[in-house]
Symmetry: C2
Subunit: 341 residues, 2 copies
């Protein structure tokens, strides 16, 4: 007779639901317990596909996607790629936009949970989500974080390299003779924001350049932040920066609008570098020196990780949480003035 | 004793559900029946707020939004404005993107229907939807069409003026001496596409300029269509057009990319006008002569119409289907060459 989930649970001395958590890879299980369960599975010659089937909920063919800002072309392209990928498996997306507002985010998590989705792809608004994901994990609904990571729950995550890319970007400014380098960034509790700032600080530190507090500007990952911080930095009396690092595309756009309004020329009067590129950049002058992100790859990878969970195949594949860090590219544009010339 | 919905139905010699359709304004009712019901309401001094309450379903505080293309900045801004407006009344959006694909559209209509939404804002992929909206109307779930209209069901609609605006745009080209004017448009069964084409044809006709078949290019409202049709038009051997009318922002963008690739200068080699403006147009040269749309106003108005239905207030207000046509603006840019100079 084929072994059942109960047999595995008994042999591993855990509850059947713990076995299911281990085999679906969803929900918290300690490393020791995980090992015990997988050992029991091996010893009993347990067929995980059978488990998978027995654990299967009624499918809705619907995947929830929560992003911070649907008006940001980066997330638009992430969502498009997710959709292109999952629609081949006949899944449909329900899309929600949180404005990086924690309470909106919780509401959407609740709504999607109540609406019975098969899986969730989610760019969280903060590093620690507390119990917000618990109902999904408890119900064995796979969750994949995209673009941003969290620290308090272990779930599959697909992000782009942030710190080293930012380091390189700021270093390229320093190599051109810049020292008065400002950064315009988002909130200090969003993982991408933290990583990009860390890259900036480390590049300055390694070059022995002191970081001036007035050069570190925080707001949101939006155009308004770029515009307002730009105006502030451009009009500093004594020590106007010679270069600014925009930590995302929307901030860059706001900075460029502010520069345009104040008749500040790029790169003659101010140099600009950016994490992420502008949409329509082929038509925009000057081409900005930037870290090129790959939202299509990010979205596709996140969708593939989720689909693998939904079809949970082999024990070896599903047992562990995956954290995928995708590489970025560096593009040298014409937005930086060489101060050494 | 207060009159009930049954009393109204009996007096008007219709079913109670017909009374409810008239009072909520949702679902088809003939003009004659509508009049009978409203007469009975008046005569009995019936309180429609009471009706409203009695007909109220369990609310989910969720509004479905279906748009053709979430990567089009126009719809992104429509959706943002809807969200800004309805979130004040504690509604949350579930957003779906159809790619103007009729079968995807039907799937999303089904999914949203099953997920119990309170209302729907919807940009349909075609002029005739058949029975696709029936389940919503039957369930008294208000539907507001946005940006695009349909002909086979009577529902609230919020659109922007299309034909006359296009007429004016093409006329501005003719006034500058252009006669070889091409149009790059989307499908001939989308209302906006039809109206913009009609404006083009009427302007040409009124000026006595024959329309050449090879100047009418059809594809989708996307960048690829602009790019491919642009390449086709730019490389016509004998009768290259001197001007092109792009019927939306994405087509315009594709045309500009094609021109850039073929080293065709705007406006020296080709003049361009567009229905709708590019995102980031402040940073893009040349500024295109365009019909400026107002997606924020469109989204807000659609949301307000829907909220009014959801809170259905007075009989006078709710009895009739509303069709709101918002005005556009004309912006003279530098993308048109004056051939009379």
């Amino acid at each position: 007779m084929k072994p059942t989930i109960k047999d595995v649970a008994e042999r591993a001395k855990v509850s059947p639901s713990t076995v299911s958590r281990v085999l679906t890879g969803v929900g918290y299980v300690s490393a020791a317990t995980k090992e015990k369960v997988l050992k029991a599975v091996d010893e009993l010659g347990y067929n995980p596909n059978g488990v998978a089937r027995s654990l299967k909920r009624a499918k809705t063919q619907t995947i929830g996607v929560i992003v911070p800002d649907i008006s940001n072309p980066y997330f638009v392209r992430v969502v498009r790629s997710i959709e292109n990928c999952v629609s081949k498996s006949d899944y449909n997306l329900l899309l929600c936009s949180t404005d990086d507002n924690a309470s909106k985010e919780e509401t959407f998590l609740r709504i999607l949970r109540e609406r019975r989705i098969d899986g969730l792809i989610f760019a969280p608004s903060r590093l620690e989500l507390g119990s917000a994901l618990k109902p999904f994990l408890d119900a064995n609904i796979p969750v994949v974080l995209v673009d941003r990571t969290i620290t308090d729950v272990e779930v599959d995550t697909v992000v782009e390299e942030g710190e080293q890319s930012s380091y390189r970007l700021v270093q390229s400014l320093i190599e051109m003779g810049h020292e008065r380098i400002a950064i315009v960034n988002s909130k200090p509790y969003i993982s991408t924001s933290i990583e990009r700032q860390r890259g900036y600080e480390r590049a300055m530190l390694d070059a022995g350049i002191p970081i001036r507090p007035q050069y570190i500007q925080h707001g949101r990952f939006d155009q308004e932040t770029g515009y307002l911080c730009g105006k502030r930095l451009f009009t500093l009396k004594d020590d106007r920066p010679t270069a600014i690092f925009a930590t995302n595309n929307s901030i860059l756009y706001g900075l460029m609008l502010a520069a345009r309004e104040l008749l500040i020329r790029i790169p003659e009067d101010i140099s600009l570098v950016s994490f992420g590129d502008l949409e329509y950049s082929e038509l925009i002058f000057p081409r900005v020196t930037a870290i090129l992100q790959h939202p299509d790859r990010v979205g596709t990878t996140a969708a593939e990780v989720l689909l693998a969970r939904l079809n949970h195949t082999h024990v070896e594949e599903v047992q562990k949480t995956r954290r995928i860090v995708l590489p970025t590219d560096f593009r040298c544009g014409t937005s930086v003035r060489n101060l050494r010339d």
